[in-house]
């Protein structure tokens, strides 16, 4: 709780937390879907602050964490080819594939470059017309407009040496998969604010209708999270499952329709494997037929690569909220941020790395 005490709005945070604790007549299980929210919750000790009133279950919303192992292996295979410049967001470089990671490929002479934006990769392609430039296009709906624009411009400007290895994932089908699991303990969801900035929140109504769980659109800062949790607990206590927008300053019902228009042109819905979880029907985007020529998976003939997960890593159970990171036998032992066995330990937004970095070596329950 060190961070929250130092936080400028600490008094307001404490007051929101008090209201949540006082209004909860039982301990509610609430899942934050987004890894950025997980990071903020653990870093600021919000889960400990609310202990007794809510249990925060950390969901699968870290794109780095859920990118399937075989896609990492495909990335490694492409990045190792001579003449290729492989561009990626920095978080992906340490994600372990079956045998090594992109850092190793780079150390062994591969041209692996970290970029801030997918448009940077496109610029690298313009500047290196004799090289194949591949961008690792991962992410949820928040990142998809950026990746879509890079491919779209690549096509418009006929940049034939540019392609994208796409592993896009979608939030609503993940919520659906979690809710339909027989082991599901989740009673409500905080939906990721910036996903909704792009997509709007109309698509959550059928989920609330079907599963009778509140879904509250929530931001990422400590006060945003507490406000989202406060509204969620209010809906749970009242027994009125609804969609609510607690992040009005950045989210509208319709979302960004200009972005949605290009997304529907560049991508099409596909079944997608989630690392540690398995295949979820219609839970991802791949490039549509019109952009097939820009699909690195076909350009480099890696679509037949298959892979098996580490037997020790239980990140799938962590990602579905059935296991806390520090309850995994490998946590902090075989598996650390320096030697991660699964992607949830790699990304700073992964639940395991957040627990490790902020000193959560034993579970809250075992302290009591």
């Amino acid at each position: 709780m060190k961070y929250l005490d130092e936080f400028r709005d600490g008094a307001m945070a404490q007051s929101l937390a008090r209201e949540i604790r006082e209004s909860a007549t039982r301990k509610w299980a609430i899942m934050e879907v987004c890894g950025g929210q997980t990071h903020s919750i653990v870093r600021n000790g919000l889960d400990q602050l609310l202990d007794g009133a809510v249990e925060m279950i950390h969901g699968p919303g870290c794109p780095v964490c859920v990118t399937p192992l075989e896609l990492i292996d495909k990335a490694l295979a492409i990045a190792s080819q001579p003449g290729v410049i492989f561009c990626s967001f920095g978080d992906m470089l340490r994600v372990p594939g079956s045998h090594h990671d992109l850092f190793r490929v780079k150390a062994e002479g591969g041209d692996v470059r970290v970029v801030y934006s997918p448009l940077d990769a496109l610029q690298i392609a313009r500047e290196n017309p004799d090289r194949e430039v591949v961008f690792f296009g991962i992410g949820f709906e928040t990142t998809a407009p950026a990746n879509a624009m890079a491919v779209h411009q690549g096509k418009l400007q006929d940049i034939a040496n540019f392609s994208m290895l796409v592993s896009h994932v979608l939030v609503p089908p993940a919520i659906e998969a979690i809710m339909s699991s027989p082991r599901c303990r989740v009673q409500a969801f905080l939906a990721a604010g910036h996903v909704c900035s792009v997509m709007g929140y109309w698509q959550y109504y059928p989920l609330v209708e079907r599963y009778k769980v509140p879904i509250v659109i929530t931001g990422f800062e400590p006060l945003d999270l507490l406000e989202g949790i406060r509204r969620t607990v209010h809906l749970l206590e009242a027994g009125t499952p609804q969609v609510e927008n607690a992040y009005e300053r950045a989210v509208t019902f319709e979302g960004n329709q200009t972005a949605q228009k290009l997304l529907s042109e560049v991508f099409e819905v596909t079944d997608r494997s989630w690392r540690g979880i398995g295949e979820i029907p219609r839970s991802g985007w791949r490039l549509s037929d019109a952009y097939h020529d820009f699909d690195a998976e076909y350009r480099f003939s890696v679509s037949t690569i298959r892979a098996e997960e580490s037997p020790i890593c239980r990140s799938g159970e962590v990602l579905q909220g059935n296991l806390k990171p520090n309850e995994c036998p490998g946590f902090g032992k075989e598996c650390t941020p320096r030697h991660p066995l699964g992607a949830t330990m790699v990304s700073t937004e992964g639940a395991c790395a957040a627990y490790y970095n902020y000193g959560r070596f034993v579970s809250v329950d075992s302290i009591r």
């Binding site: 794109p63 801030y116 407009p145 950026a146 400007q157 792009v198 400590p222 300053r249 200009t258 937004e349």
Partner: protein, 83 residues
């Protein structure tokens, strides 16, 4: 990688047929694609993710968010330390 940071649009221009701009994130100025916000004007505030403006935001909350991110060290993580 999922951080999205608010900033103020300082300049708007066309580059390679796309609406681009320069956005000031509490002192760090970066090039940002504005194609998804056709209405946004110089002086407006926007939330930016991986170099793309995804939504408009009001000035007051942009400043509040930037201040919070600065306190939490997130701006340095996203853009590198500001001198």
């Amino acid at each position: 990688m999922c951080l999205a940071v608010p900033g103020q649009v300082k300049e708007i221009y066309e580059s390679m047929g796309t609406r681009m701009g320069r956005v000031n994130f509490g002192g760090v100025v970066k090039e940002v694609c504005l194609a998804y916000l056709p209405e946004i004007a110089v002086g407006d505030y926007t939330i930016v993710h991986v170099g793309f403006a995804i939504t408009k935001v009001d000035e007051e909350s942009a400043h509040r968010t930037l201040e919070t991110f600065r306190e939490m060290g997130l701006l340095d993580e996203e853009f590198g330390p500001v001198n």
